[in-house]
Amino acid sequence: MRINCPICGDRDWREFYYLGAADYLNRPAEGDLDAIHKYLHIRENPAGVTKDLWHHEAGCSSWLVVERNVTTHEILGVELAAEVKR
């Protein structure tokens, strides 16, 4: 598997660390317990296109949002997490 980092270019998966769903970018307001519960534990988990957070740990150190299809392993897009609109 290869990920096309917007800064470093096409790189081997060994350089990346997987965190989890891109939902982690949308942290709810403090005190909203239902929203925090949902944020931490509730995931759609579709058999299809997902958006996940990956860290280019051994590369430029950027956090990336990788859109991929978990049934075909096709990678549809890679964006810097810092530039993703929230």
Partner: protein
């Protein structure tokens, strides 16, 4: 003050030549990490002070003995000169790294056994942050091979890994067709 004897990171380990490849330690240089503050303009002030600007991502700039390497998103290493006052987070990392040069026609083949980068695509002065085995490394393409920079504590491991590959490549080259 006692004048302590400086010891290089790969002291006693290098240089070593095996077959057509040579691995040597690059003499100790002054290294400062420069991480510009958000939105800060640093390049012009740096050029005024040391004669070179910040490189693009994945590149380096050189003038004489002074070099600036891109080392990560928003981070650069100034090598061989003192940084001026800049709107950036600056740390002296002079004794934190071990730099070695792997030179020879098959330097790329040697690196390919340890590093996931496609080094054949790198041109002179290109810089990549990647791995050597399990070690985080900065890799710079030179005319005669590659410069590899790792944390100083990994100097012995780096030399061990590269020597092993150099020995293996040499043995393979000696085999009959």
């Amino acid at each position: 003050m006692i004048d302590l004897v400086a010891k290089s990171a790969a002291e006693g380990l290098l240089p070593v030549t095996i077959g057509a490849l040579t691995l040597s330690e690059i003499p100790h240089r002054e290294v400062h990490s420069i991480a510009p503050f958000k939105g800060a303009k640093v390049s012009t002030a740096l050029k005024k002070a040391v004669g070179i600007e910040l490189p693009e991502a994945g590149r380096s700039t050189t003038k004489g003995d002074v070099q600036v390497l891109w080392t990560a998103r928003g981070q650069y290493f100034l090598i061989g000169a003192k940084p001026p006052k800049l709107p950036a987070a600056i740390t002296d990392q002079s004794d934190a790294w071990c730099a070695v040069a792997l030179t020879g026609p098959s330097a790329g083949d040697a690196l390919a056994r340890l590093c996931p980068l496609d080094t054949a695509k790198m041109g002179q002065g290109d810089v990549a942050r990647s791995l050597i085995g399990h070690m985080s490394a900065i890799i710079v393409k030179r005319v005669d091979g590659f410069e590899t920079i790792v944390f100083r504590a990994f100097a012995r491991t780096l030399v061990h890994e590269l020597r092993k590959v150099m020995t293996s490549l040499d043995a393979q080259a000696a085999l009959p067709d």
